[in-house]
């Protein structure tokens, strides 16, 4: 009865750790030898396949890519946030300013109207004073006139 190689011994052999005992067993056991040869062949072909897949690539213009740097960086994030803030704040600020100007204009208009009213009501030309008295319906004034006529 012959003990075959264990899982660990096969792995050990495959990574290149070959003790005299292992070598002796492999030399004497055709089954283990065949299994190890098959595994080694598959791994060699696997290496060839991956290398063929990788070797078709050529180095890109990595300096240009490097000069661009990774897409994420704190300065870029801060710059982006600042730009966004400006884009949001500008229309709001502009709108507030327009509203303030409208309010100022409305206030100025009402103040101007008040001044005009005041000026109109106070500055009655001298020739028109009797007319004002008459319009005011000053009964006292009418009675006074009658007494003067008598």
């Amino acid at each position: 009865m012959i003990e075959h190689l264990s899982v660990e011994q096969i792995s050990q052999w495959t990574i290149g750790e070959r003790t005299p005992q292992l070598e002796q067993h492999v030399a004497e056991c055709p089954e283990c030898r065949a299994e190890l040869e098959q595994l080694e062949t598959v791994l060699v072909q696997f290496r060839a396949a991956v290398r063929a897949a990788g070797n078709s690539a050529s180095p890109p213009a990595w300096r240009e890519a490097a000069s661009r740097g990774p897409w994420f960086s704190w300065p870029r994030l801060v710059l982006g946030a600042a730009t966004l803030l400006i884009l949001v704040a500008l229309p709001i600020g502009w709108r507030v300013r327009v509203q303030e100007r409208a309010a100022e204009a409305a206030l100025a208009d009402s103040q101007l109207l008040e001044r005009v009213d005041s000026a109109v009501s106070q500055a009655v030309p001298e020739p028109m004073e009797p007319l004002v008295n008459l319009v005011a319906g000053n009964a006292g004034g009418v009675e006074k006139n009658r007494k003067e006529q008598r």
């Binding site: 009865m1 012959i2 003990e3 075959h4 190689l5 264990s6 899982v7 660990e8 011994q9 096969i10 792995s11 050990q12 495959t14 990574i15 290149g16 089954e31 299994e35 098959q38 595994l39 062949t41 598959v42 791994l43 072909q45 696997f46 290496r47 060839a48 396949a49 991956v50 290398r51 063929a52 897949a53 990788g54 070797n55 078709s56 690539a57 050529s58 180095p59 890109p60 990595w62 300096r63 890519a65 490097a66 740097g69 990774p70």
Partner: protein
């Protein structure tokens, strides 16, 4: 010391470094991520970071191992980074090892043998895809890049024993998938 200075100077010539090591880094990224576009991006990022950090290179390992360590970390970050889960889902440029590489088995093989070999290579590729990120990393570094255990330990930051344990599990998974584990540790 002289080697460290020479290696440090080697890093100053970024074009030469890219020419020398691009394929190695790209192949590792491709076998790990299985997406050509993502692998190119990662390889570019690797060289970009190496160029920026060349001042901190002390020559304790070779330039090749140092670059691979950066690449290993990037692959690890990629696996963890949820922002890039898109790659896992989309795989628009996903690689099939037998077709994308225009790989042809040994020309002397009969069509049957060639077809069988392609199947087995595909099985290894699939098995590697099912490994954990660390197992796949050490598997690729060992069996695609031919790095020895100490180099893999330096590139991954793992202990040599841990590297060996990951490799053992990876080999077992590959044997099971590729049909090479019909009989293990038995008697006849």
């Amino acid at each position: 010391m002289a080697t460290a200075i020479a290696s440090s100077r080697e890093l100053d010539d970024s074009d030469a470094v890219v020419r020398l090591y691009w394929l190695k880094v790209f192949r590792f990224a491709l076998a790990s991520l299985r997406d050509r576009h993502a692998a190119e991006t990662l390889a570019q990022d690797c060289f970009f970071r190496a160029y920026k950090a060349r001042g901190s290179f002390r020559g304790e390992a070779s330039v090749s191992t140092w670059l691979m360590r950066i690449a290993v970390n990037l692959v690890r970050d990629h696996a963890r980074d949820r922002r890039l889960q898109f790659w896992k889902r989309a795989r628009l440029t996903a690689v099939d090892v037998n077709t994308a590489g225009r790989w042809i088995p040994d020309g002397g093989a009969s069509p049957e043998v060639a077809a069988s070999m392609k199947e087995q290579v595909q099985a290894v590729w699939d098995a590697a895809g099912g490994l954990s990120e660390r197992q796949r990393t050490v598997f690729v570094l060992r069996f695609v890049e031919d790095m020895d255990l100490l180099e893999i330990a330096a590139a991954t930051g793992l202990k040599e024993g841990t590297v060996k344990a990951h490799l053992f599990r990876a080999i077992q998974a590959v044997r099971e998938r590729a049909g090479g584990a019909k009989r293990v540790g038995g008697t006849k």
